[in-house]
């Protein structure tokens, strides 16, 4: 019998949240200059049915009223942070990525790769059907496209701007739109534990067999949430197009959305790396199955026995 303490069962959650918490704390406390108080109050204000314009308290003077009507309220709350964030993103974010990659390299060094021993490579089980594989790869390709075009904007200094960069920026917006259905489907996968979904005949087709390990669950939930954040904030940034006269009412909201977009993208990048690591680096042999849809039985026995059990159950049911 395996020793199962609270800690060992929830290791993934604890490590993830502790790590995020630490990094987050460092950032929030020392690096970010956003007005968190306003940030939270603004969101509440919107949810409580208030207006989008960001004026949380009525102006106390004609000057302030003029300022709100002409420029939008509380410039100091978000804009300095956006300026800092977009400048520092350009210069330092790749260091962050280097650090994250280093972290995963370190983990690889310590934990190595789990390599299942496969003696009968021809004894294969179908795990992913065509539809699932299409969606998975479409997701991969679109996300790569989004990452490239998105960071094309961030690293504009390196690209130097110009027509190609302009086109890539435009592509980012349209690709984001295309990603929405794919994200939706992947979200269904992520929440497959929920009864509503796996009892639904429509969604059964996409659900991937197997039960979740905590790390995977965390990763998927973050994908969903950050993805949602990116999509919603992206749409709003794109579609909400204030002209000179509606600027003051909408700009504060757009600024907040931009901030959400930046934040979501950074967090998402981390979890992409985490996923790539845990699915493809930490385990050898997962890659092939994503293409063909089939895995050798022994591979599944050793790496993902829950998947095998579920598939056999299904088979059993169908038989």
């Amino acid at each position: 019998m395996e020793n199962s303490s609270f800690f060992s069962r929830n290791k993934a959650y604890i490590y993830t949240f502790a790590g995020l918490g630490l990094v987050g704390f460092v950032f929030v406390e020392f690096l970010m200059i956003i007005d968190w108080n306003y940030f939270i109050k603004y969101k509440l204000h919107i949810l409580m049915g208030g207006s989008l314009d960001g004026v949380l308290t009525p102006p106390s003077s004609t000057y302030e009223a003029m300022s709100n009507a002409a420029f939008g309220p509380n410039y100091e709350a978000f804009s300095p942070e956006i300026i800092r964030a977009s400048n520092e993103r350009q210069l330092y974010i790749w260091w962050v990525f280097v650090a994250e990659i280093a972290l995963f390299c370190g983990m690889y060094l310590f934990q190595g790769r789990r390599t299942p021993v496969v003696k009968n490579p021809n004894d294969e089980v179908v795990v992913f059907n065509l539809f699932q594989r299409t969606v998975i790869w479409l997701n991969v390709l679109i996300m790569i496209a989004l990452i490239i075009t998105g960071f094309n904007i961030t690293w504009g200094l390196r690209s130097g701007g110009g027509e190609l960069a302009f086109l890539l920026r435009g592509t980012h917006e349209i690709t984001g739109l295309i990603w929405f259905p794919v994200w939706l489907l992947m979200s269904i996968v992520a929440f497959k534990d929920s009864k509503l979904l796996f009892k639904n005949s429509l969604t059964k087709k996409i659900i991937i067999p197997g039960s979740y390990k905590p790390m995977k669950r965390i990763i998927y939930y973050f994908f969903v949430i950050m993805g949602a954040g990116l999509l919603v904030s992206g749409f709003i940034i794109w579609f909400l197009h204030p002209d000179a006269y509606t600027h003051a009412q909408l700009i504060q909201f757009k600024r907040m959305m931009l901030y959400v977009h930046f934040g979501s993208s950074v967090l998402l990048m981390f979890f992409i790396m985490d996923f790539v690591y845990s699915a493809l680096v930490a385990v050898k042999g997962n890659y092939k199955g994503l293409l063909s849809g089939k895995y050798p039985r022994e591979h599944l026995e050793q790496i993902a026995p829950d998947v095998l059990a579920e598939l056999e159950n299904k088979k059993g049911k169908m038989a």
């Binding site: 004609t62 009223a65 003029m66 009507a69 002409a70 420029f71 939008g72 410039y75 978000f78 804009s79 956006i82 300026i83 977009s86 400048n87 350009q90 094309n152 904007i153 961030t154 690293w155 504009g156 200094l157 690209s159 130097g160 701007g161 110009g162 027509e163 960069a165 302009f166 890539l168 920026r169 435009g170 917006e173 349209i174 739109l177 940034i237 794109w238 579609f239 197009h241 204030p242 002209d243 000179a244 006269y245 600027h247 003051a248 700009i251 757009k254 600024r255 931009l258």
Partner: protein, 196 residues
């Protein structure tokens, strides 16, 4: 040896004189053939109809000394002239919109006529000083509009202001005019009729 003192070009709009006639808005659009939907300059009126409190002011790019747009642009397409006018290069601009987020005044404008409504290149008030192309060339005029500063002319909006509420020029000069007007209040007409 005397220190060279560069002028700093600034706009100033006196809200006690601005009557929301939109003359500046139309003058700018006409002069630079700005597309419909983009307003380099706008007039904001607050407390409309409230007795004693209604105020109007005309705003465009303020050509900030520490221009946030220039700080935030990912492709660094802005350049600030020695005289303080903030200009940008439309050929570099990728239309990401960061400058609009960073600008306290909403000066950057984007034509929304791309495919799927995607943003075009950023356009904003140039204080009638054109862009990086060759001065007064057809290319410059096509992209940015007139370059009046190079010809020694007053920017279009201020030159057309009905009540001369909008002033533009070296910050010291403009401040001097304002000071002069304030000190001469109520003392009788001291200046020539048009302008102050």
């Amino acid at each position: 040896m005397s220190k060279v003192d560069f002028s700093r070009m600034k706009f100033y709009c006196d809200e006690t004189l601005c009557i929301d006639c939109n003359g500046c808005v139309v003058a700018c659009k006409e002069a630079h053939e700005v597309p419909v939907g983009v307003n380099r300059r706008k007039v904001v009126t607050i407390n409309e109809g409230i007795v004693g409190k209604e105020v109007s002011v005309s705003m465009a790019c303020m050509h900030c000394t520490d221009a946030p747009c220039q700080q935030v642009c990912p492709v660094d397409c802005f350049y600030i002239r020695t005289d303080g006018i903030v200009l940008h290069d439309k050929n570099k601009c990728i239309g990401c919109g960061y400058c609009l987020f960073a600008c306290p005044f909403g000066a950057p404008q984007f034509p929304k006529d791309g495919a799927f409504g995607t943003k075009g290149k950023m356009d904003k008030c140039t204080m009638c000083a054109g862009g990086p192309e060759e001065t007064n060339s057809e290319k410059e005029r096509h992209l940015y509009g007139q370059n009046r500063i190079a010809e020694g002319k007053v920017p279009m909006c201020a030159s057309m202001c009905s009540t001369k509420a909008l002033l533009v020029g070296d910050a010291h000069e403009v401040a001097l005019i304002k000071t002069y007007r304030a000190t001469k209040k109520g003392q009788g007409i001291v200046t020539d009729s048009y302008g102050w």
